[in-house]
């Protein structure tokens, strides 16, 4: 049986652990608050951009009257042969099942597409996505071909893809999330749009943790391209939170002073919804084709940016919850150990008393 000294040592060690997990929880809570704020601040822009595009698409037909061609390649639907999956996982561990849930959802989705005989490319966002998924599949190989003609006066660039496996990694972005900025997301969007336009991929899906509020989160597979309906999420698969998970995260949020409710819509957000939709005849001074060409890539960028922001907030929320339950568990363990220690101590005292008493009785 353990002696009092050993137990006291263990209690001290668990107390230290509890302090660390508690500090980590508070840090995550602070980061979550900031991430949530950022996600909310980004909403008006996204909404306004969607509105402009919507009204543009409504006013003009998707197909040109003269040529019958589709106005923008991103609206074009074609048979899905090669799928791009954008994996958005976290940067660090200690976040419960956050990363493995995303990997699992992604794998299930990829598995279903592979079973249909399609090929899959992956774009990995976040350090954990790169380490968990990236290592297992080969990187895509591209060849850049440059042709010169007309006596070297003109050049033509072509990018050729050499595929060897049904699942390949198109690109990795390990350090994007911890300093997320719009320009870098815009670069990613551009490369995705380029490969979509040159028909290397036929559709794009995002796998990420959606974060509407602390208690409204889910892992979703969302279709990004082709754009079928603007401003409307097209969810292919979603995994909602279980009741226990929701309770756990709500408890963690309340104990760190974060509101679990969906934040109220600000005045600006409300007005953003009306952007470009007033009941008047606007003067448009550019041609729809030209506007679409400029707006479409931005729309895709905004969608990505938004998903990344939400995923970052969700990661912090997951870590906060994990650290909250770790703190609770440590507390319970301390209680159990203290009880045990007291019992052991009491047993020793009782034993001594019995010895003294029986010694005295024997006199």
């Amino acid at each position: 049986m353990a002696n009092v000294l050993d137990l006291r040592r263990r209690i001290r060690s668990v107390k230290n652990t509890r302090q660390i997990t508690k500090a980590m929880k508070m840090v995550s809570a602070a980061k979550l608050r900031r991430a949530q704020e950022r996600a909310i601040q980004a909403r008006p822009y996204a909404k306004m951009l969607t509105n402009v595009l919507e009204s543009l698409v409504r006013r003009t037909d998707a197909y040109s009257d003269e040529t019958g061609e589709i106005l923008h390649p991103l609206l074009e639907e074609r048979e899905e042969k090669n799928v791009l999956v954008v994996f958005v996982a976290g940067d660090k561990g200690f976040a419960g099942a956050f990363n493995s849930n995303i990997v699992k959802a992604g794998q299930a989705f990829i598995g279903s597409r592979i079973a249909e005989g399609k090929t899959v490319d992956m774009e990995l966002i976040g350090r954990k996505a790169v380490t968990h998924v990236g290592k297992r599949f080969p990187m895509a190989v591209y060849e850049k071909k440059t042709e010169h003609y007309d006596n070297e006066l003109a050049t033509h660039h072509e990018i050729i893809r050499h595929r060897s496996q049904p699942i390949e990694v198109a690109a990795t972005h390990a350090d994007l999330l911890h300093s997320l900025d719009f320009d870098r997301v815009s670069d990613i969007a551009r490369s995705i749009i380029e490969s979509y336009s040159r028909k290397e991929i036929d559709s794009v899906y995002l796998v990420y943790n959606e974060f509407k509020s602390v208690i409204a989160q889910r892992v979703v597979v969302e279709k990004l391209l082709p754009i079928r309906k603007l401003g409307l999420q097209e969810i292919s698969a979603a995994e909602e939170m279980t009741k226990e998970q929701r309770d756990a995260v709500a408890r963690a949020a309340v104990s760190s002073g974060i509101s679990a409710n969906i934040p109220e819509e600000s005045v600006i957000e409300y007005e953003a919804k009306k952007f470009g939709t007033a009941e008047v005849d606007y003067i448009f001074d550019q041609s729809p084709q030209r506007l679409l060409r400029h707006l479409m890539p931005r729309y895709v960028t905004t969608q990505l940016f938004h998903a990344f922001l939400e995923s970052v907030a969700a990661e912090h929320a997951a870590r906060m919850t994990a650290m909250d339950s770790a703190t609770t568990n440590a507390g319970e363990m301390i209680d159990a150990l203290s009880l045990k220690m007291n019992r052991v101590r009491q047993a020793a005292i009782t034993k001594e008393i019995i010895e003294i008493v029986s010694g005295a009785a024997a006199l």
């Binding site: 950022r38 601040q41 980004a42 008006p44 822009y45 996204a46 306004m48 951009l49 402009v52 009204s55 003109a154 050049t155 033509h156 660039h157 719009f182 320009d183 815009s186 600006i268 007005e271 953003a272 952007f275 470009g276 007033a278 008047v280 005849d281 606007y282 003067i283 448009f284 001074d285 550019q286 030209r290 506007l291 400029h294 707006l295 931005r298 905004t302 940016f305």
Partner: protein, 143 residues
């Protein structure tokens, strides 16, 4: 609109992907639209326009004259409100001149390498123009 007052203040809002940069009022707003600068006054006709690189200038607002460098955006002008949606918006003091110079060189390099690809030329031109406007704005002599 007969009942529109002749004078009044426009509510001006500048929104970027990250945040709401400005929420103020002004008597007039100059906007760098794709087809040249335009100025919106109180009671302007409703307009939607794409913005190029240049400066948004606010005149006569409650918080005085203000300038912001924007690179690509969209503006909605309503009689009493102007909402600007800008992909990049910076206060002239925030502009990093060295970085802008570098972008300028980058744009020129892209132009050289564009070959026969029309879209690449457009892109290179856009980058160059943006960098030039940025430098001009930092120097306080944007056209």
């Amino acid at each position: 609109m007969a009942d529109t007052p002749q004078s009044g203040l426009l509510a001006v809002r500048l929104v970027t992907p990250d945040r709401i940069l400005l929420d103020a009022t002004a008597e007039a707003v100059e906007l760098p639209s794709m087809s040249g600068y335009l100025e919106a006054l109180y009671g302007a006709a409703p307009l939607l326009a794409e913005l190029g690189a240049g400066e948004v200038r606010l005149h006569g607002g409650t918080s005085g004259d203000q300038k912001f460098f924007v690179a690509w955006g969209f503006v909605e002008v309503l009689p009493e409100r102007v909402t600007i949606l800008a992909e990049t918006a910076l206060h002239p003091n925030e502009i990093d001149r060295a970085e802008a110079q570098q972008e300028l060189q980058e744009g020129q390099k892209l132009w050289q390498e564009a070959g026969d690809d029309g879209e690449k030329y457009d892109e290179a031109n856009a980058i160059t123009r943006r960098a030039e406007e940025k430098i001009a704005s930092a120097d306080g002599k944007s056209t």
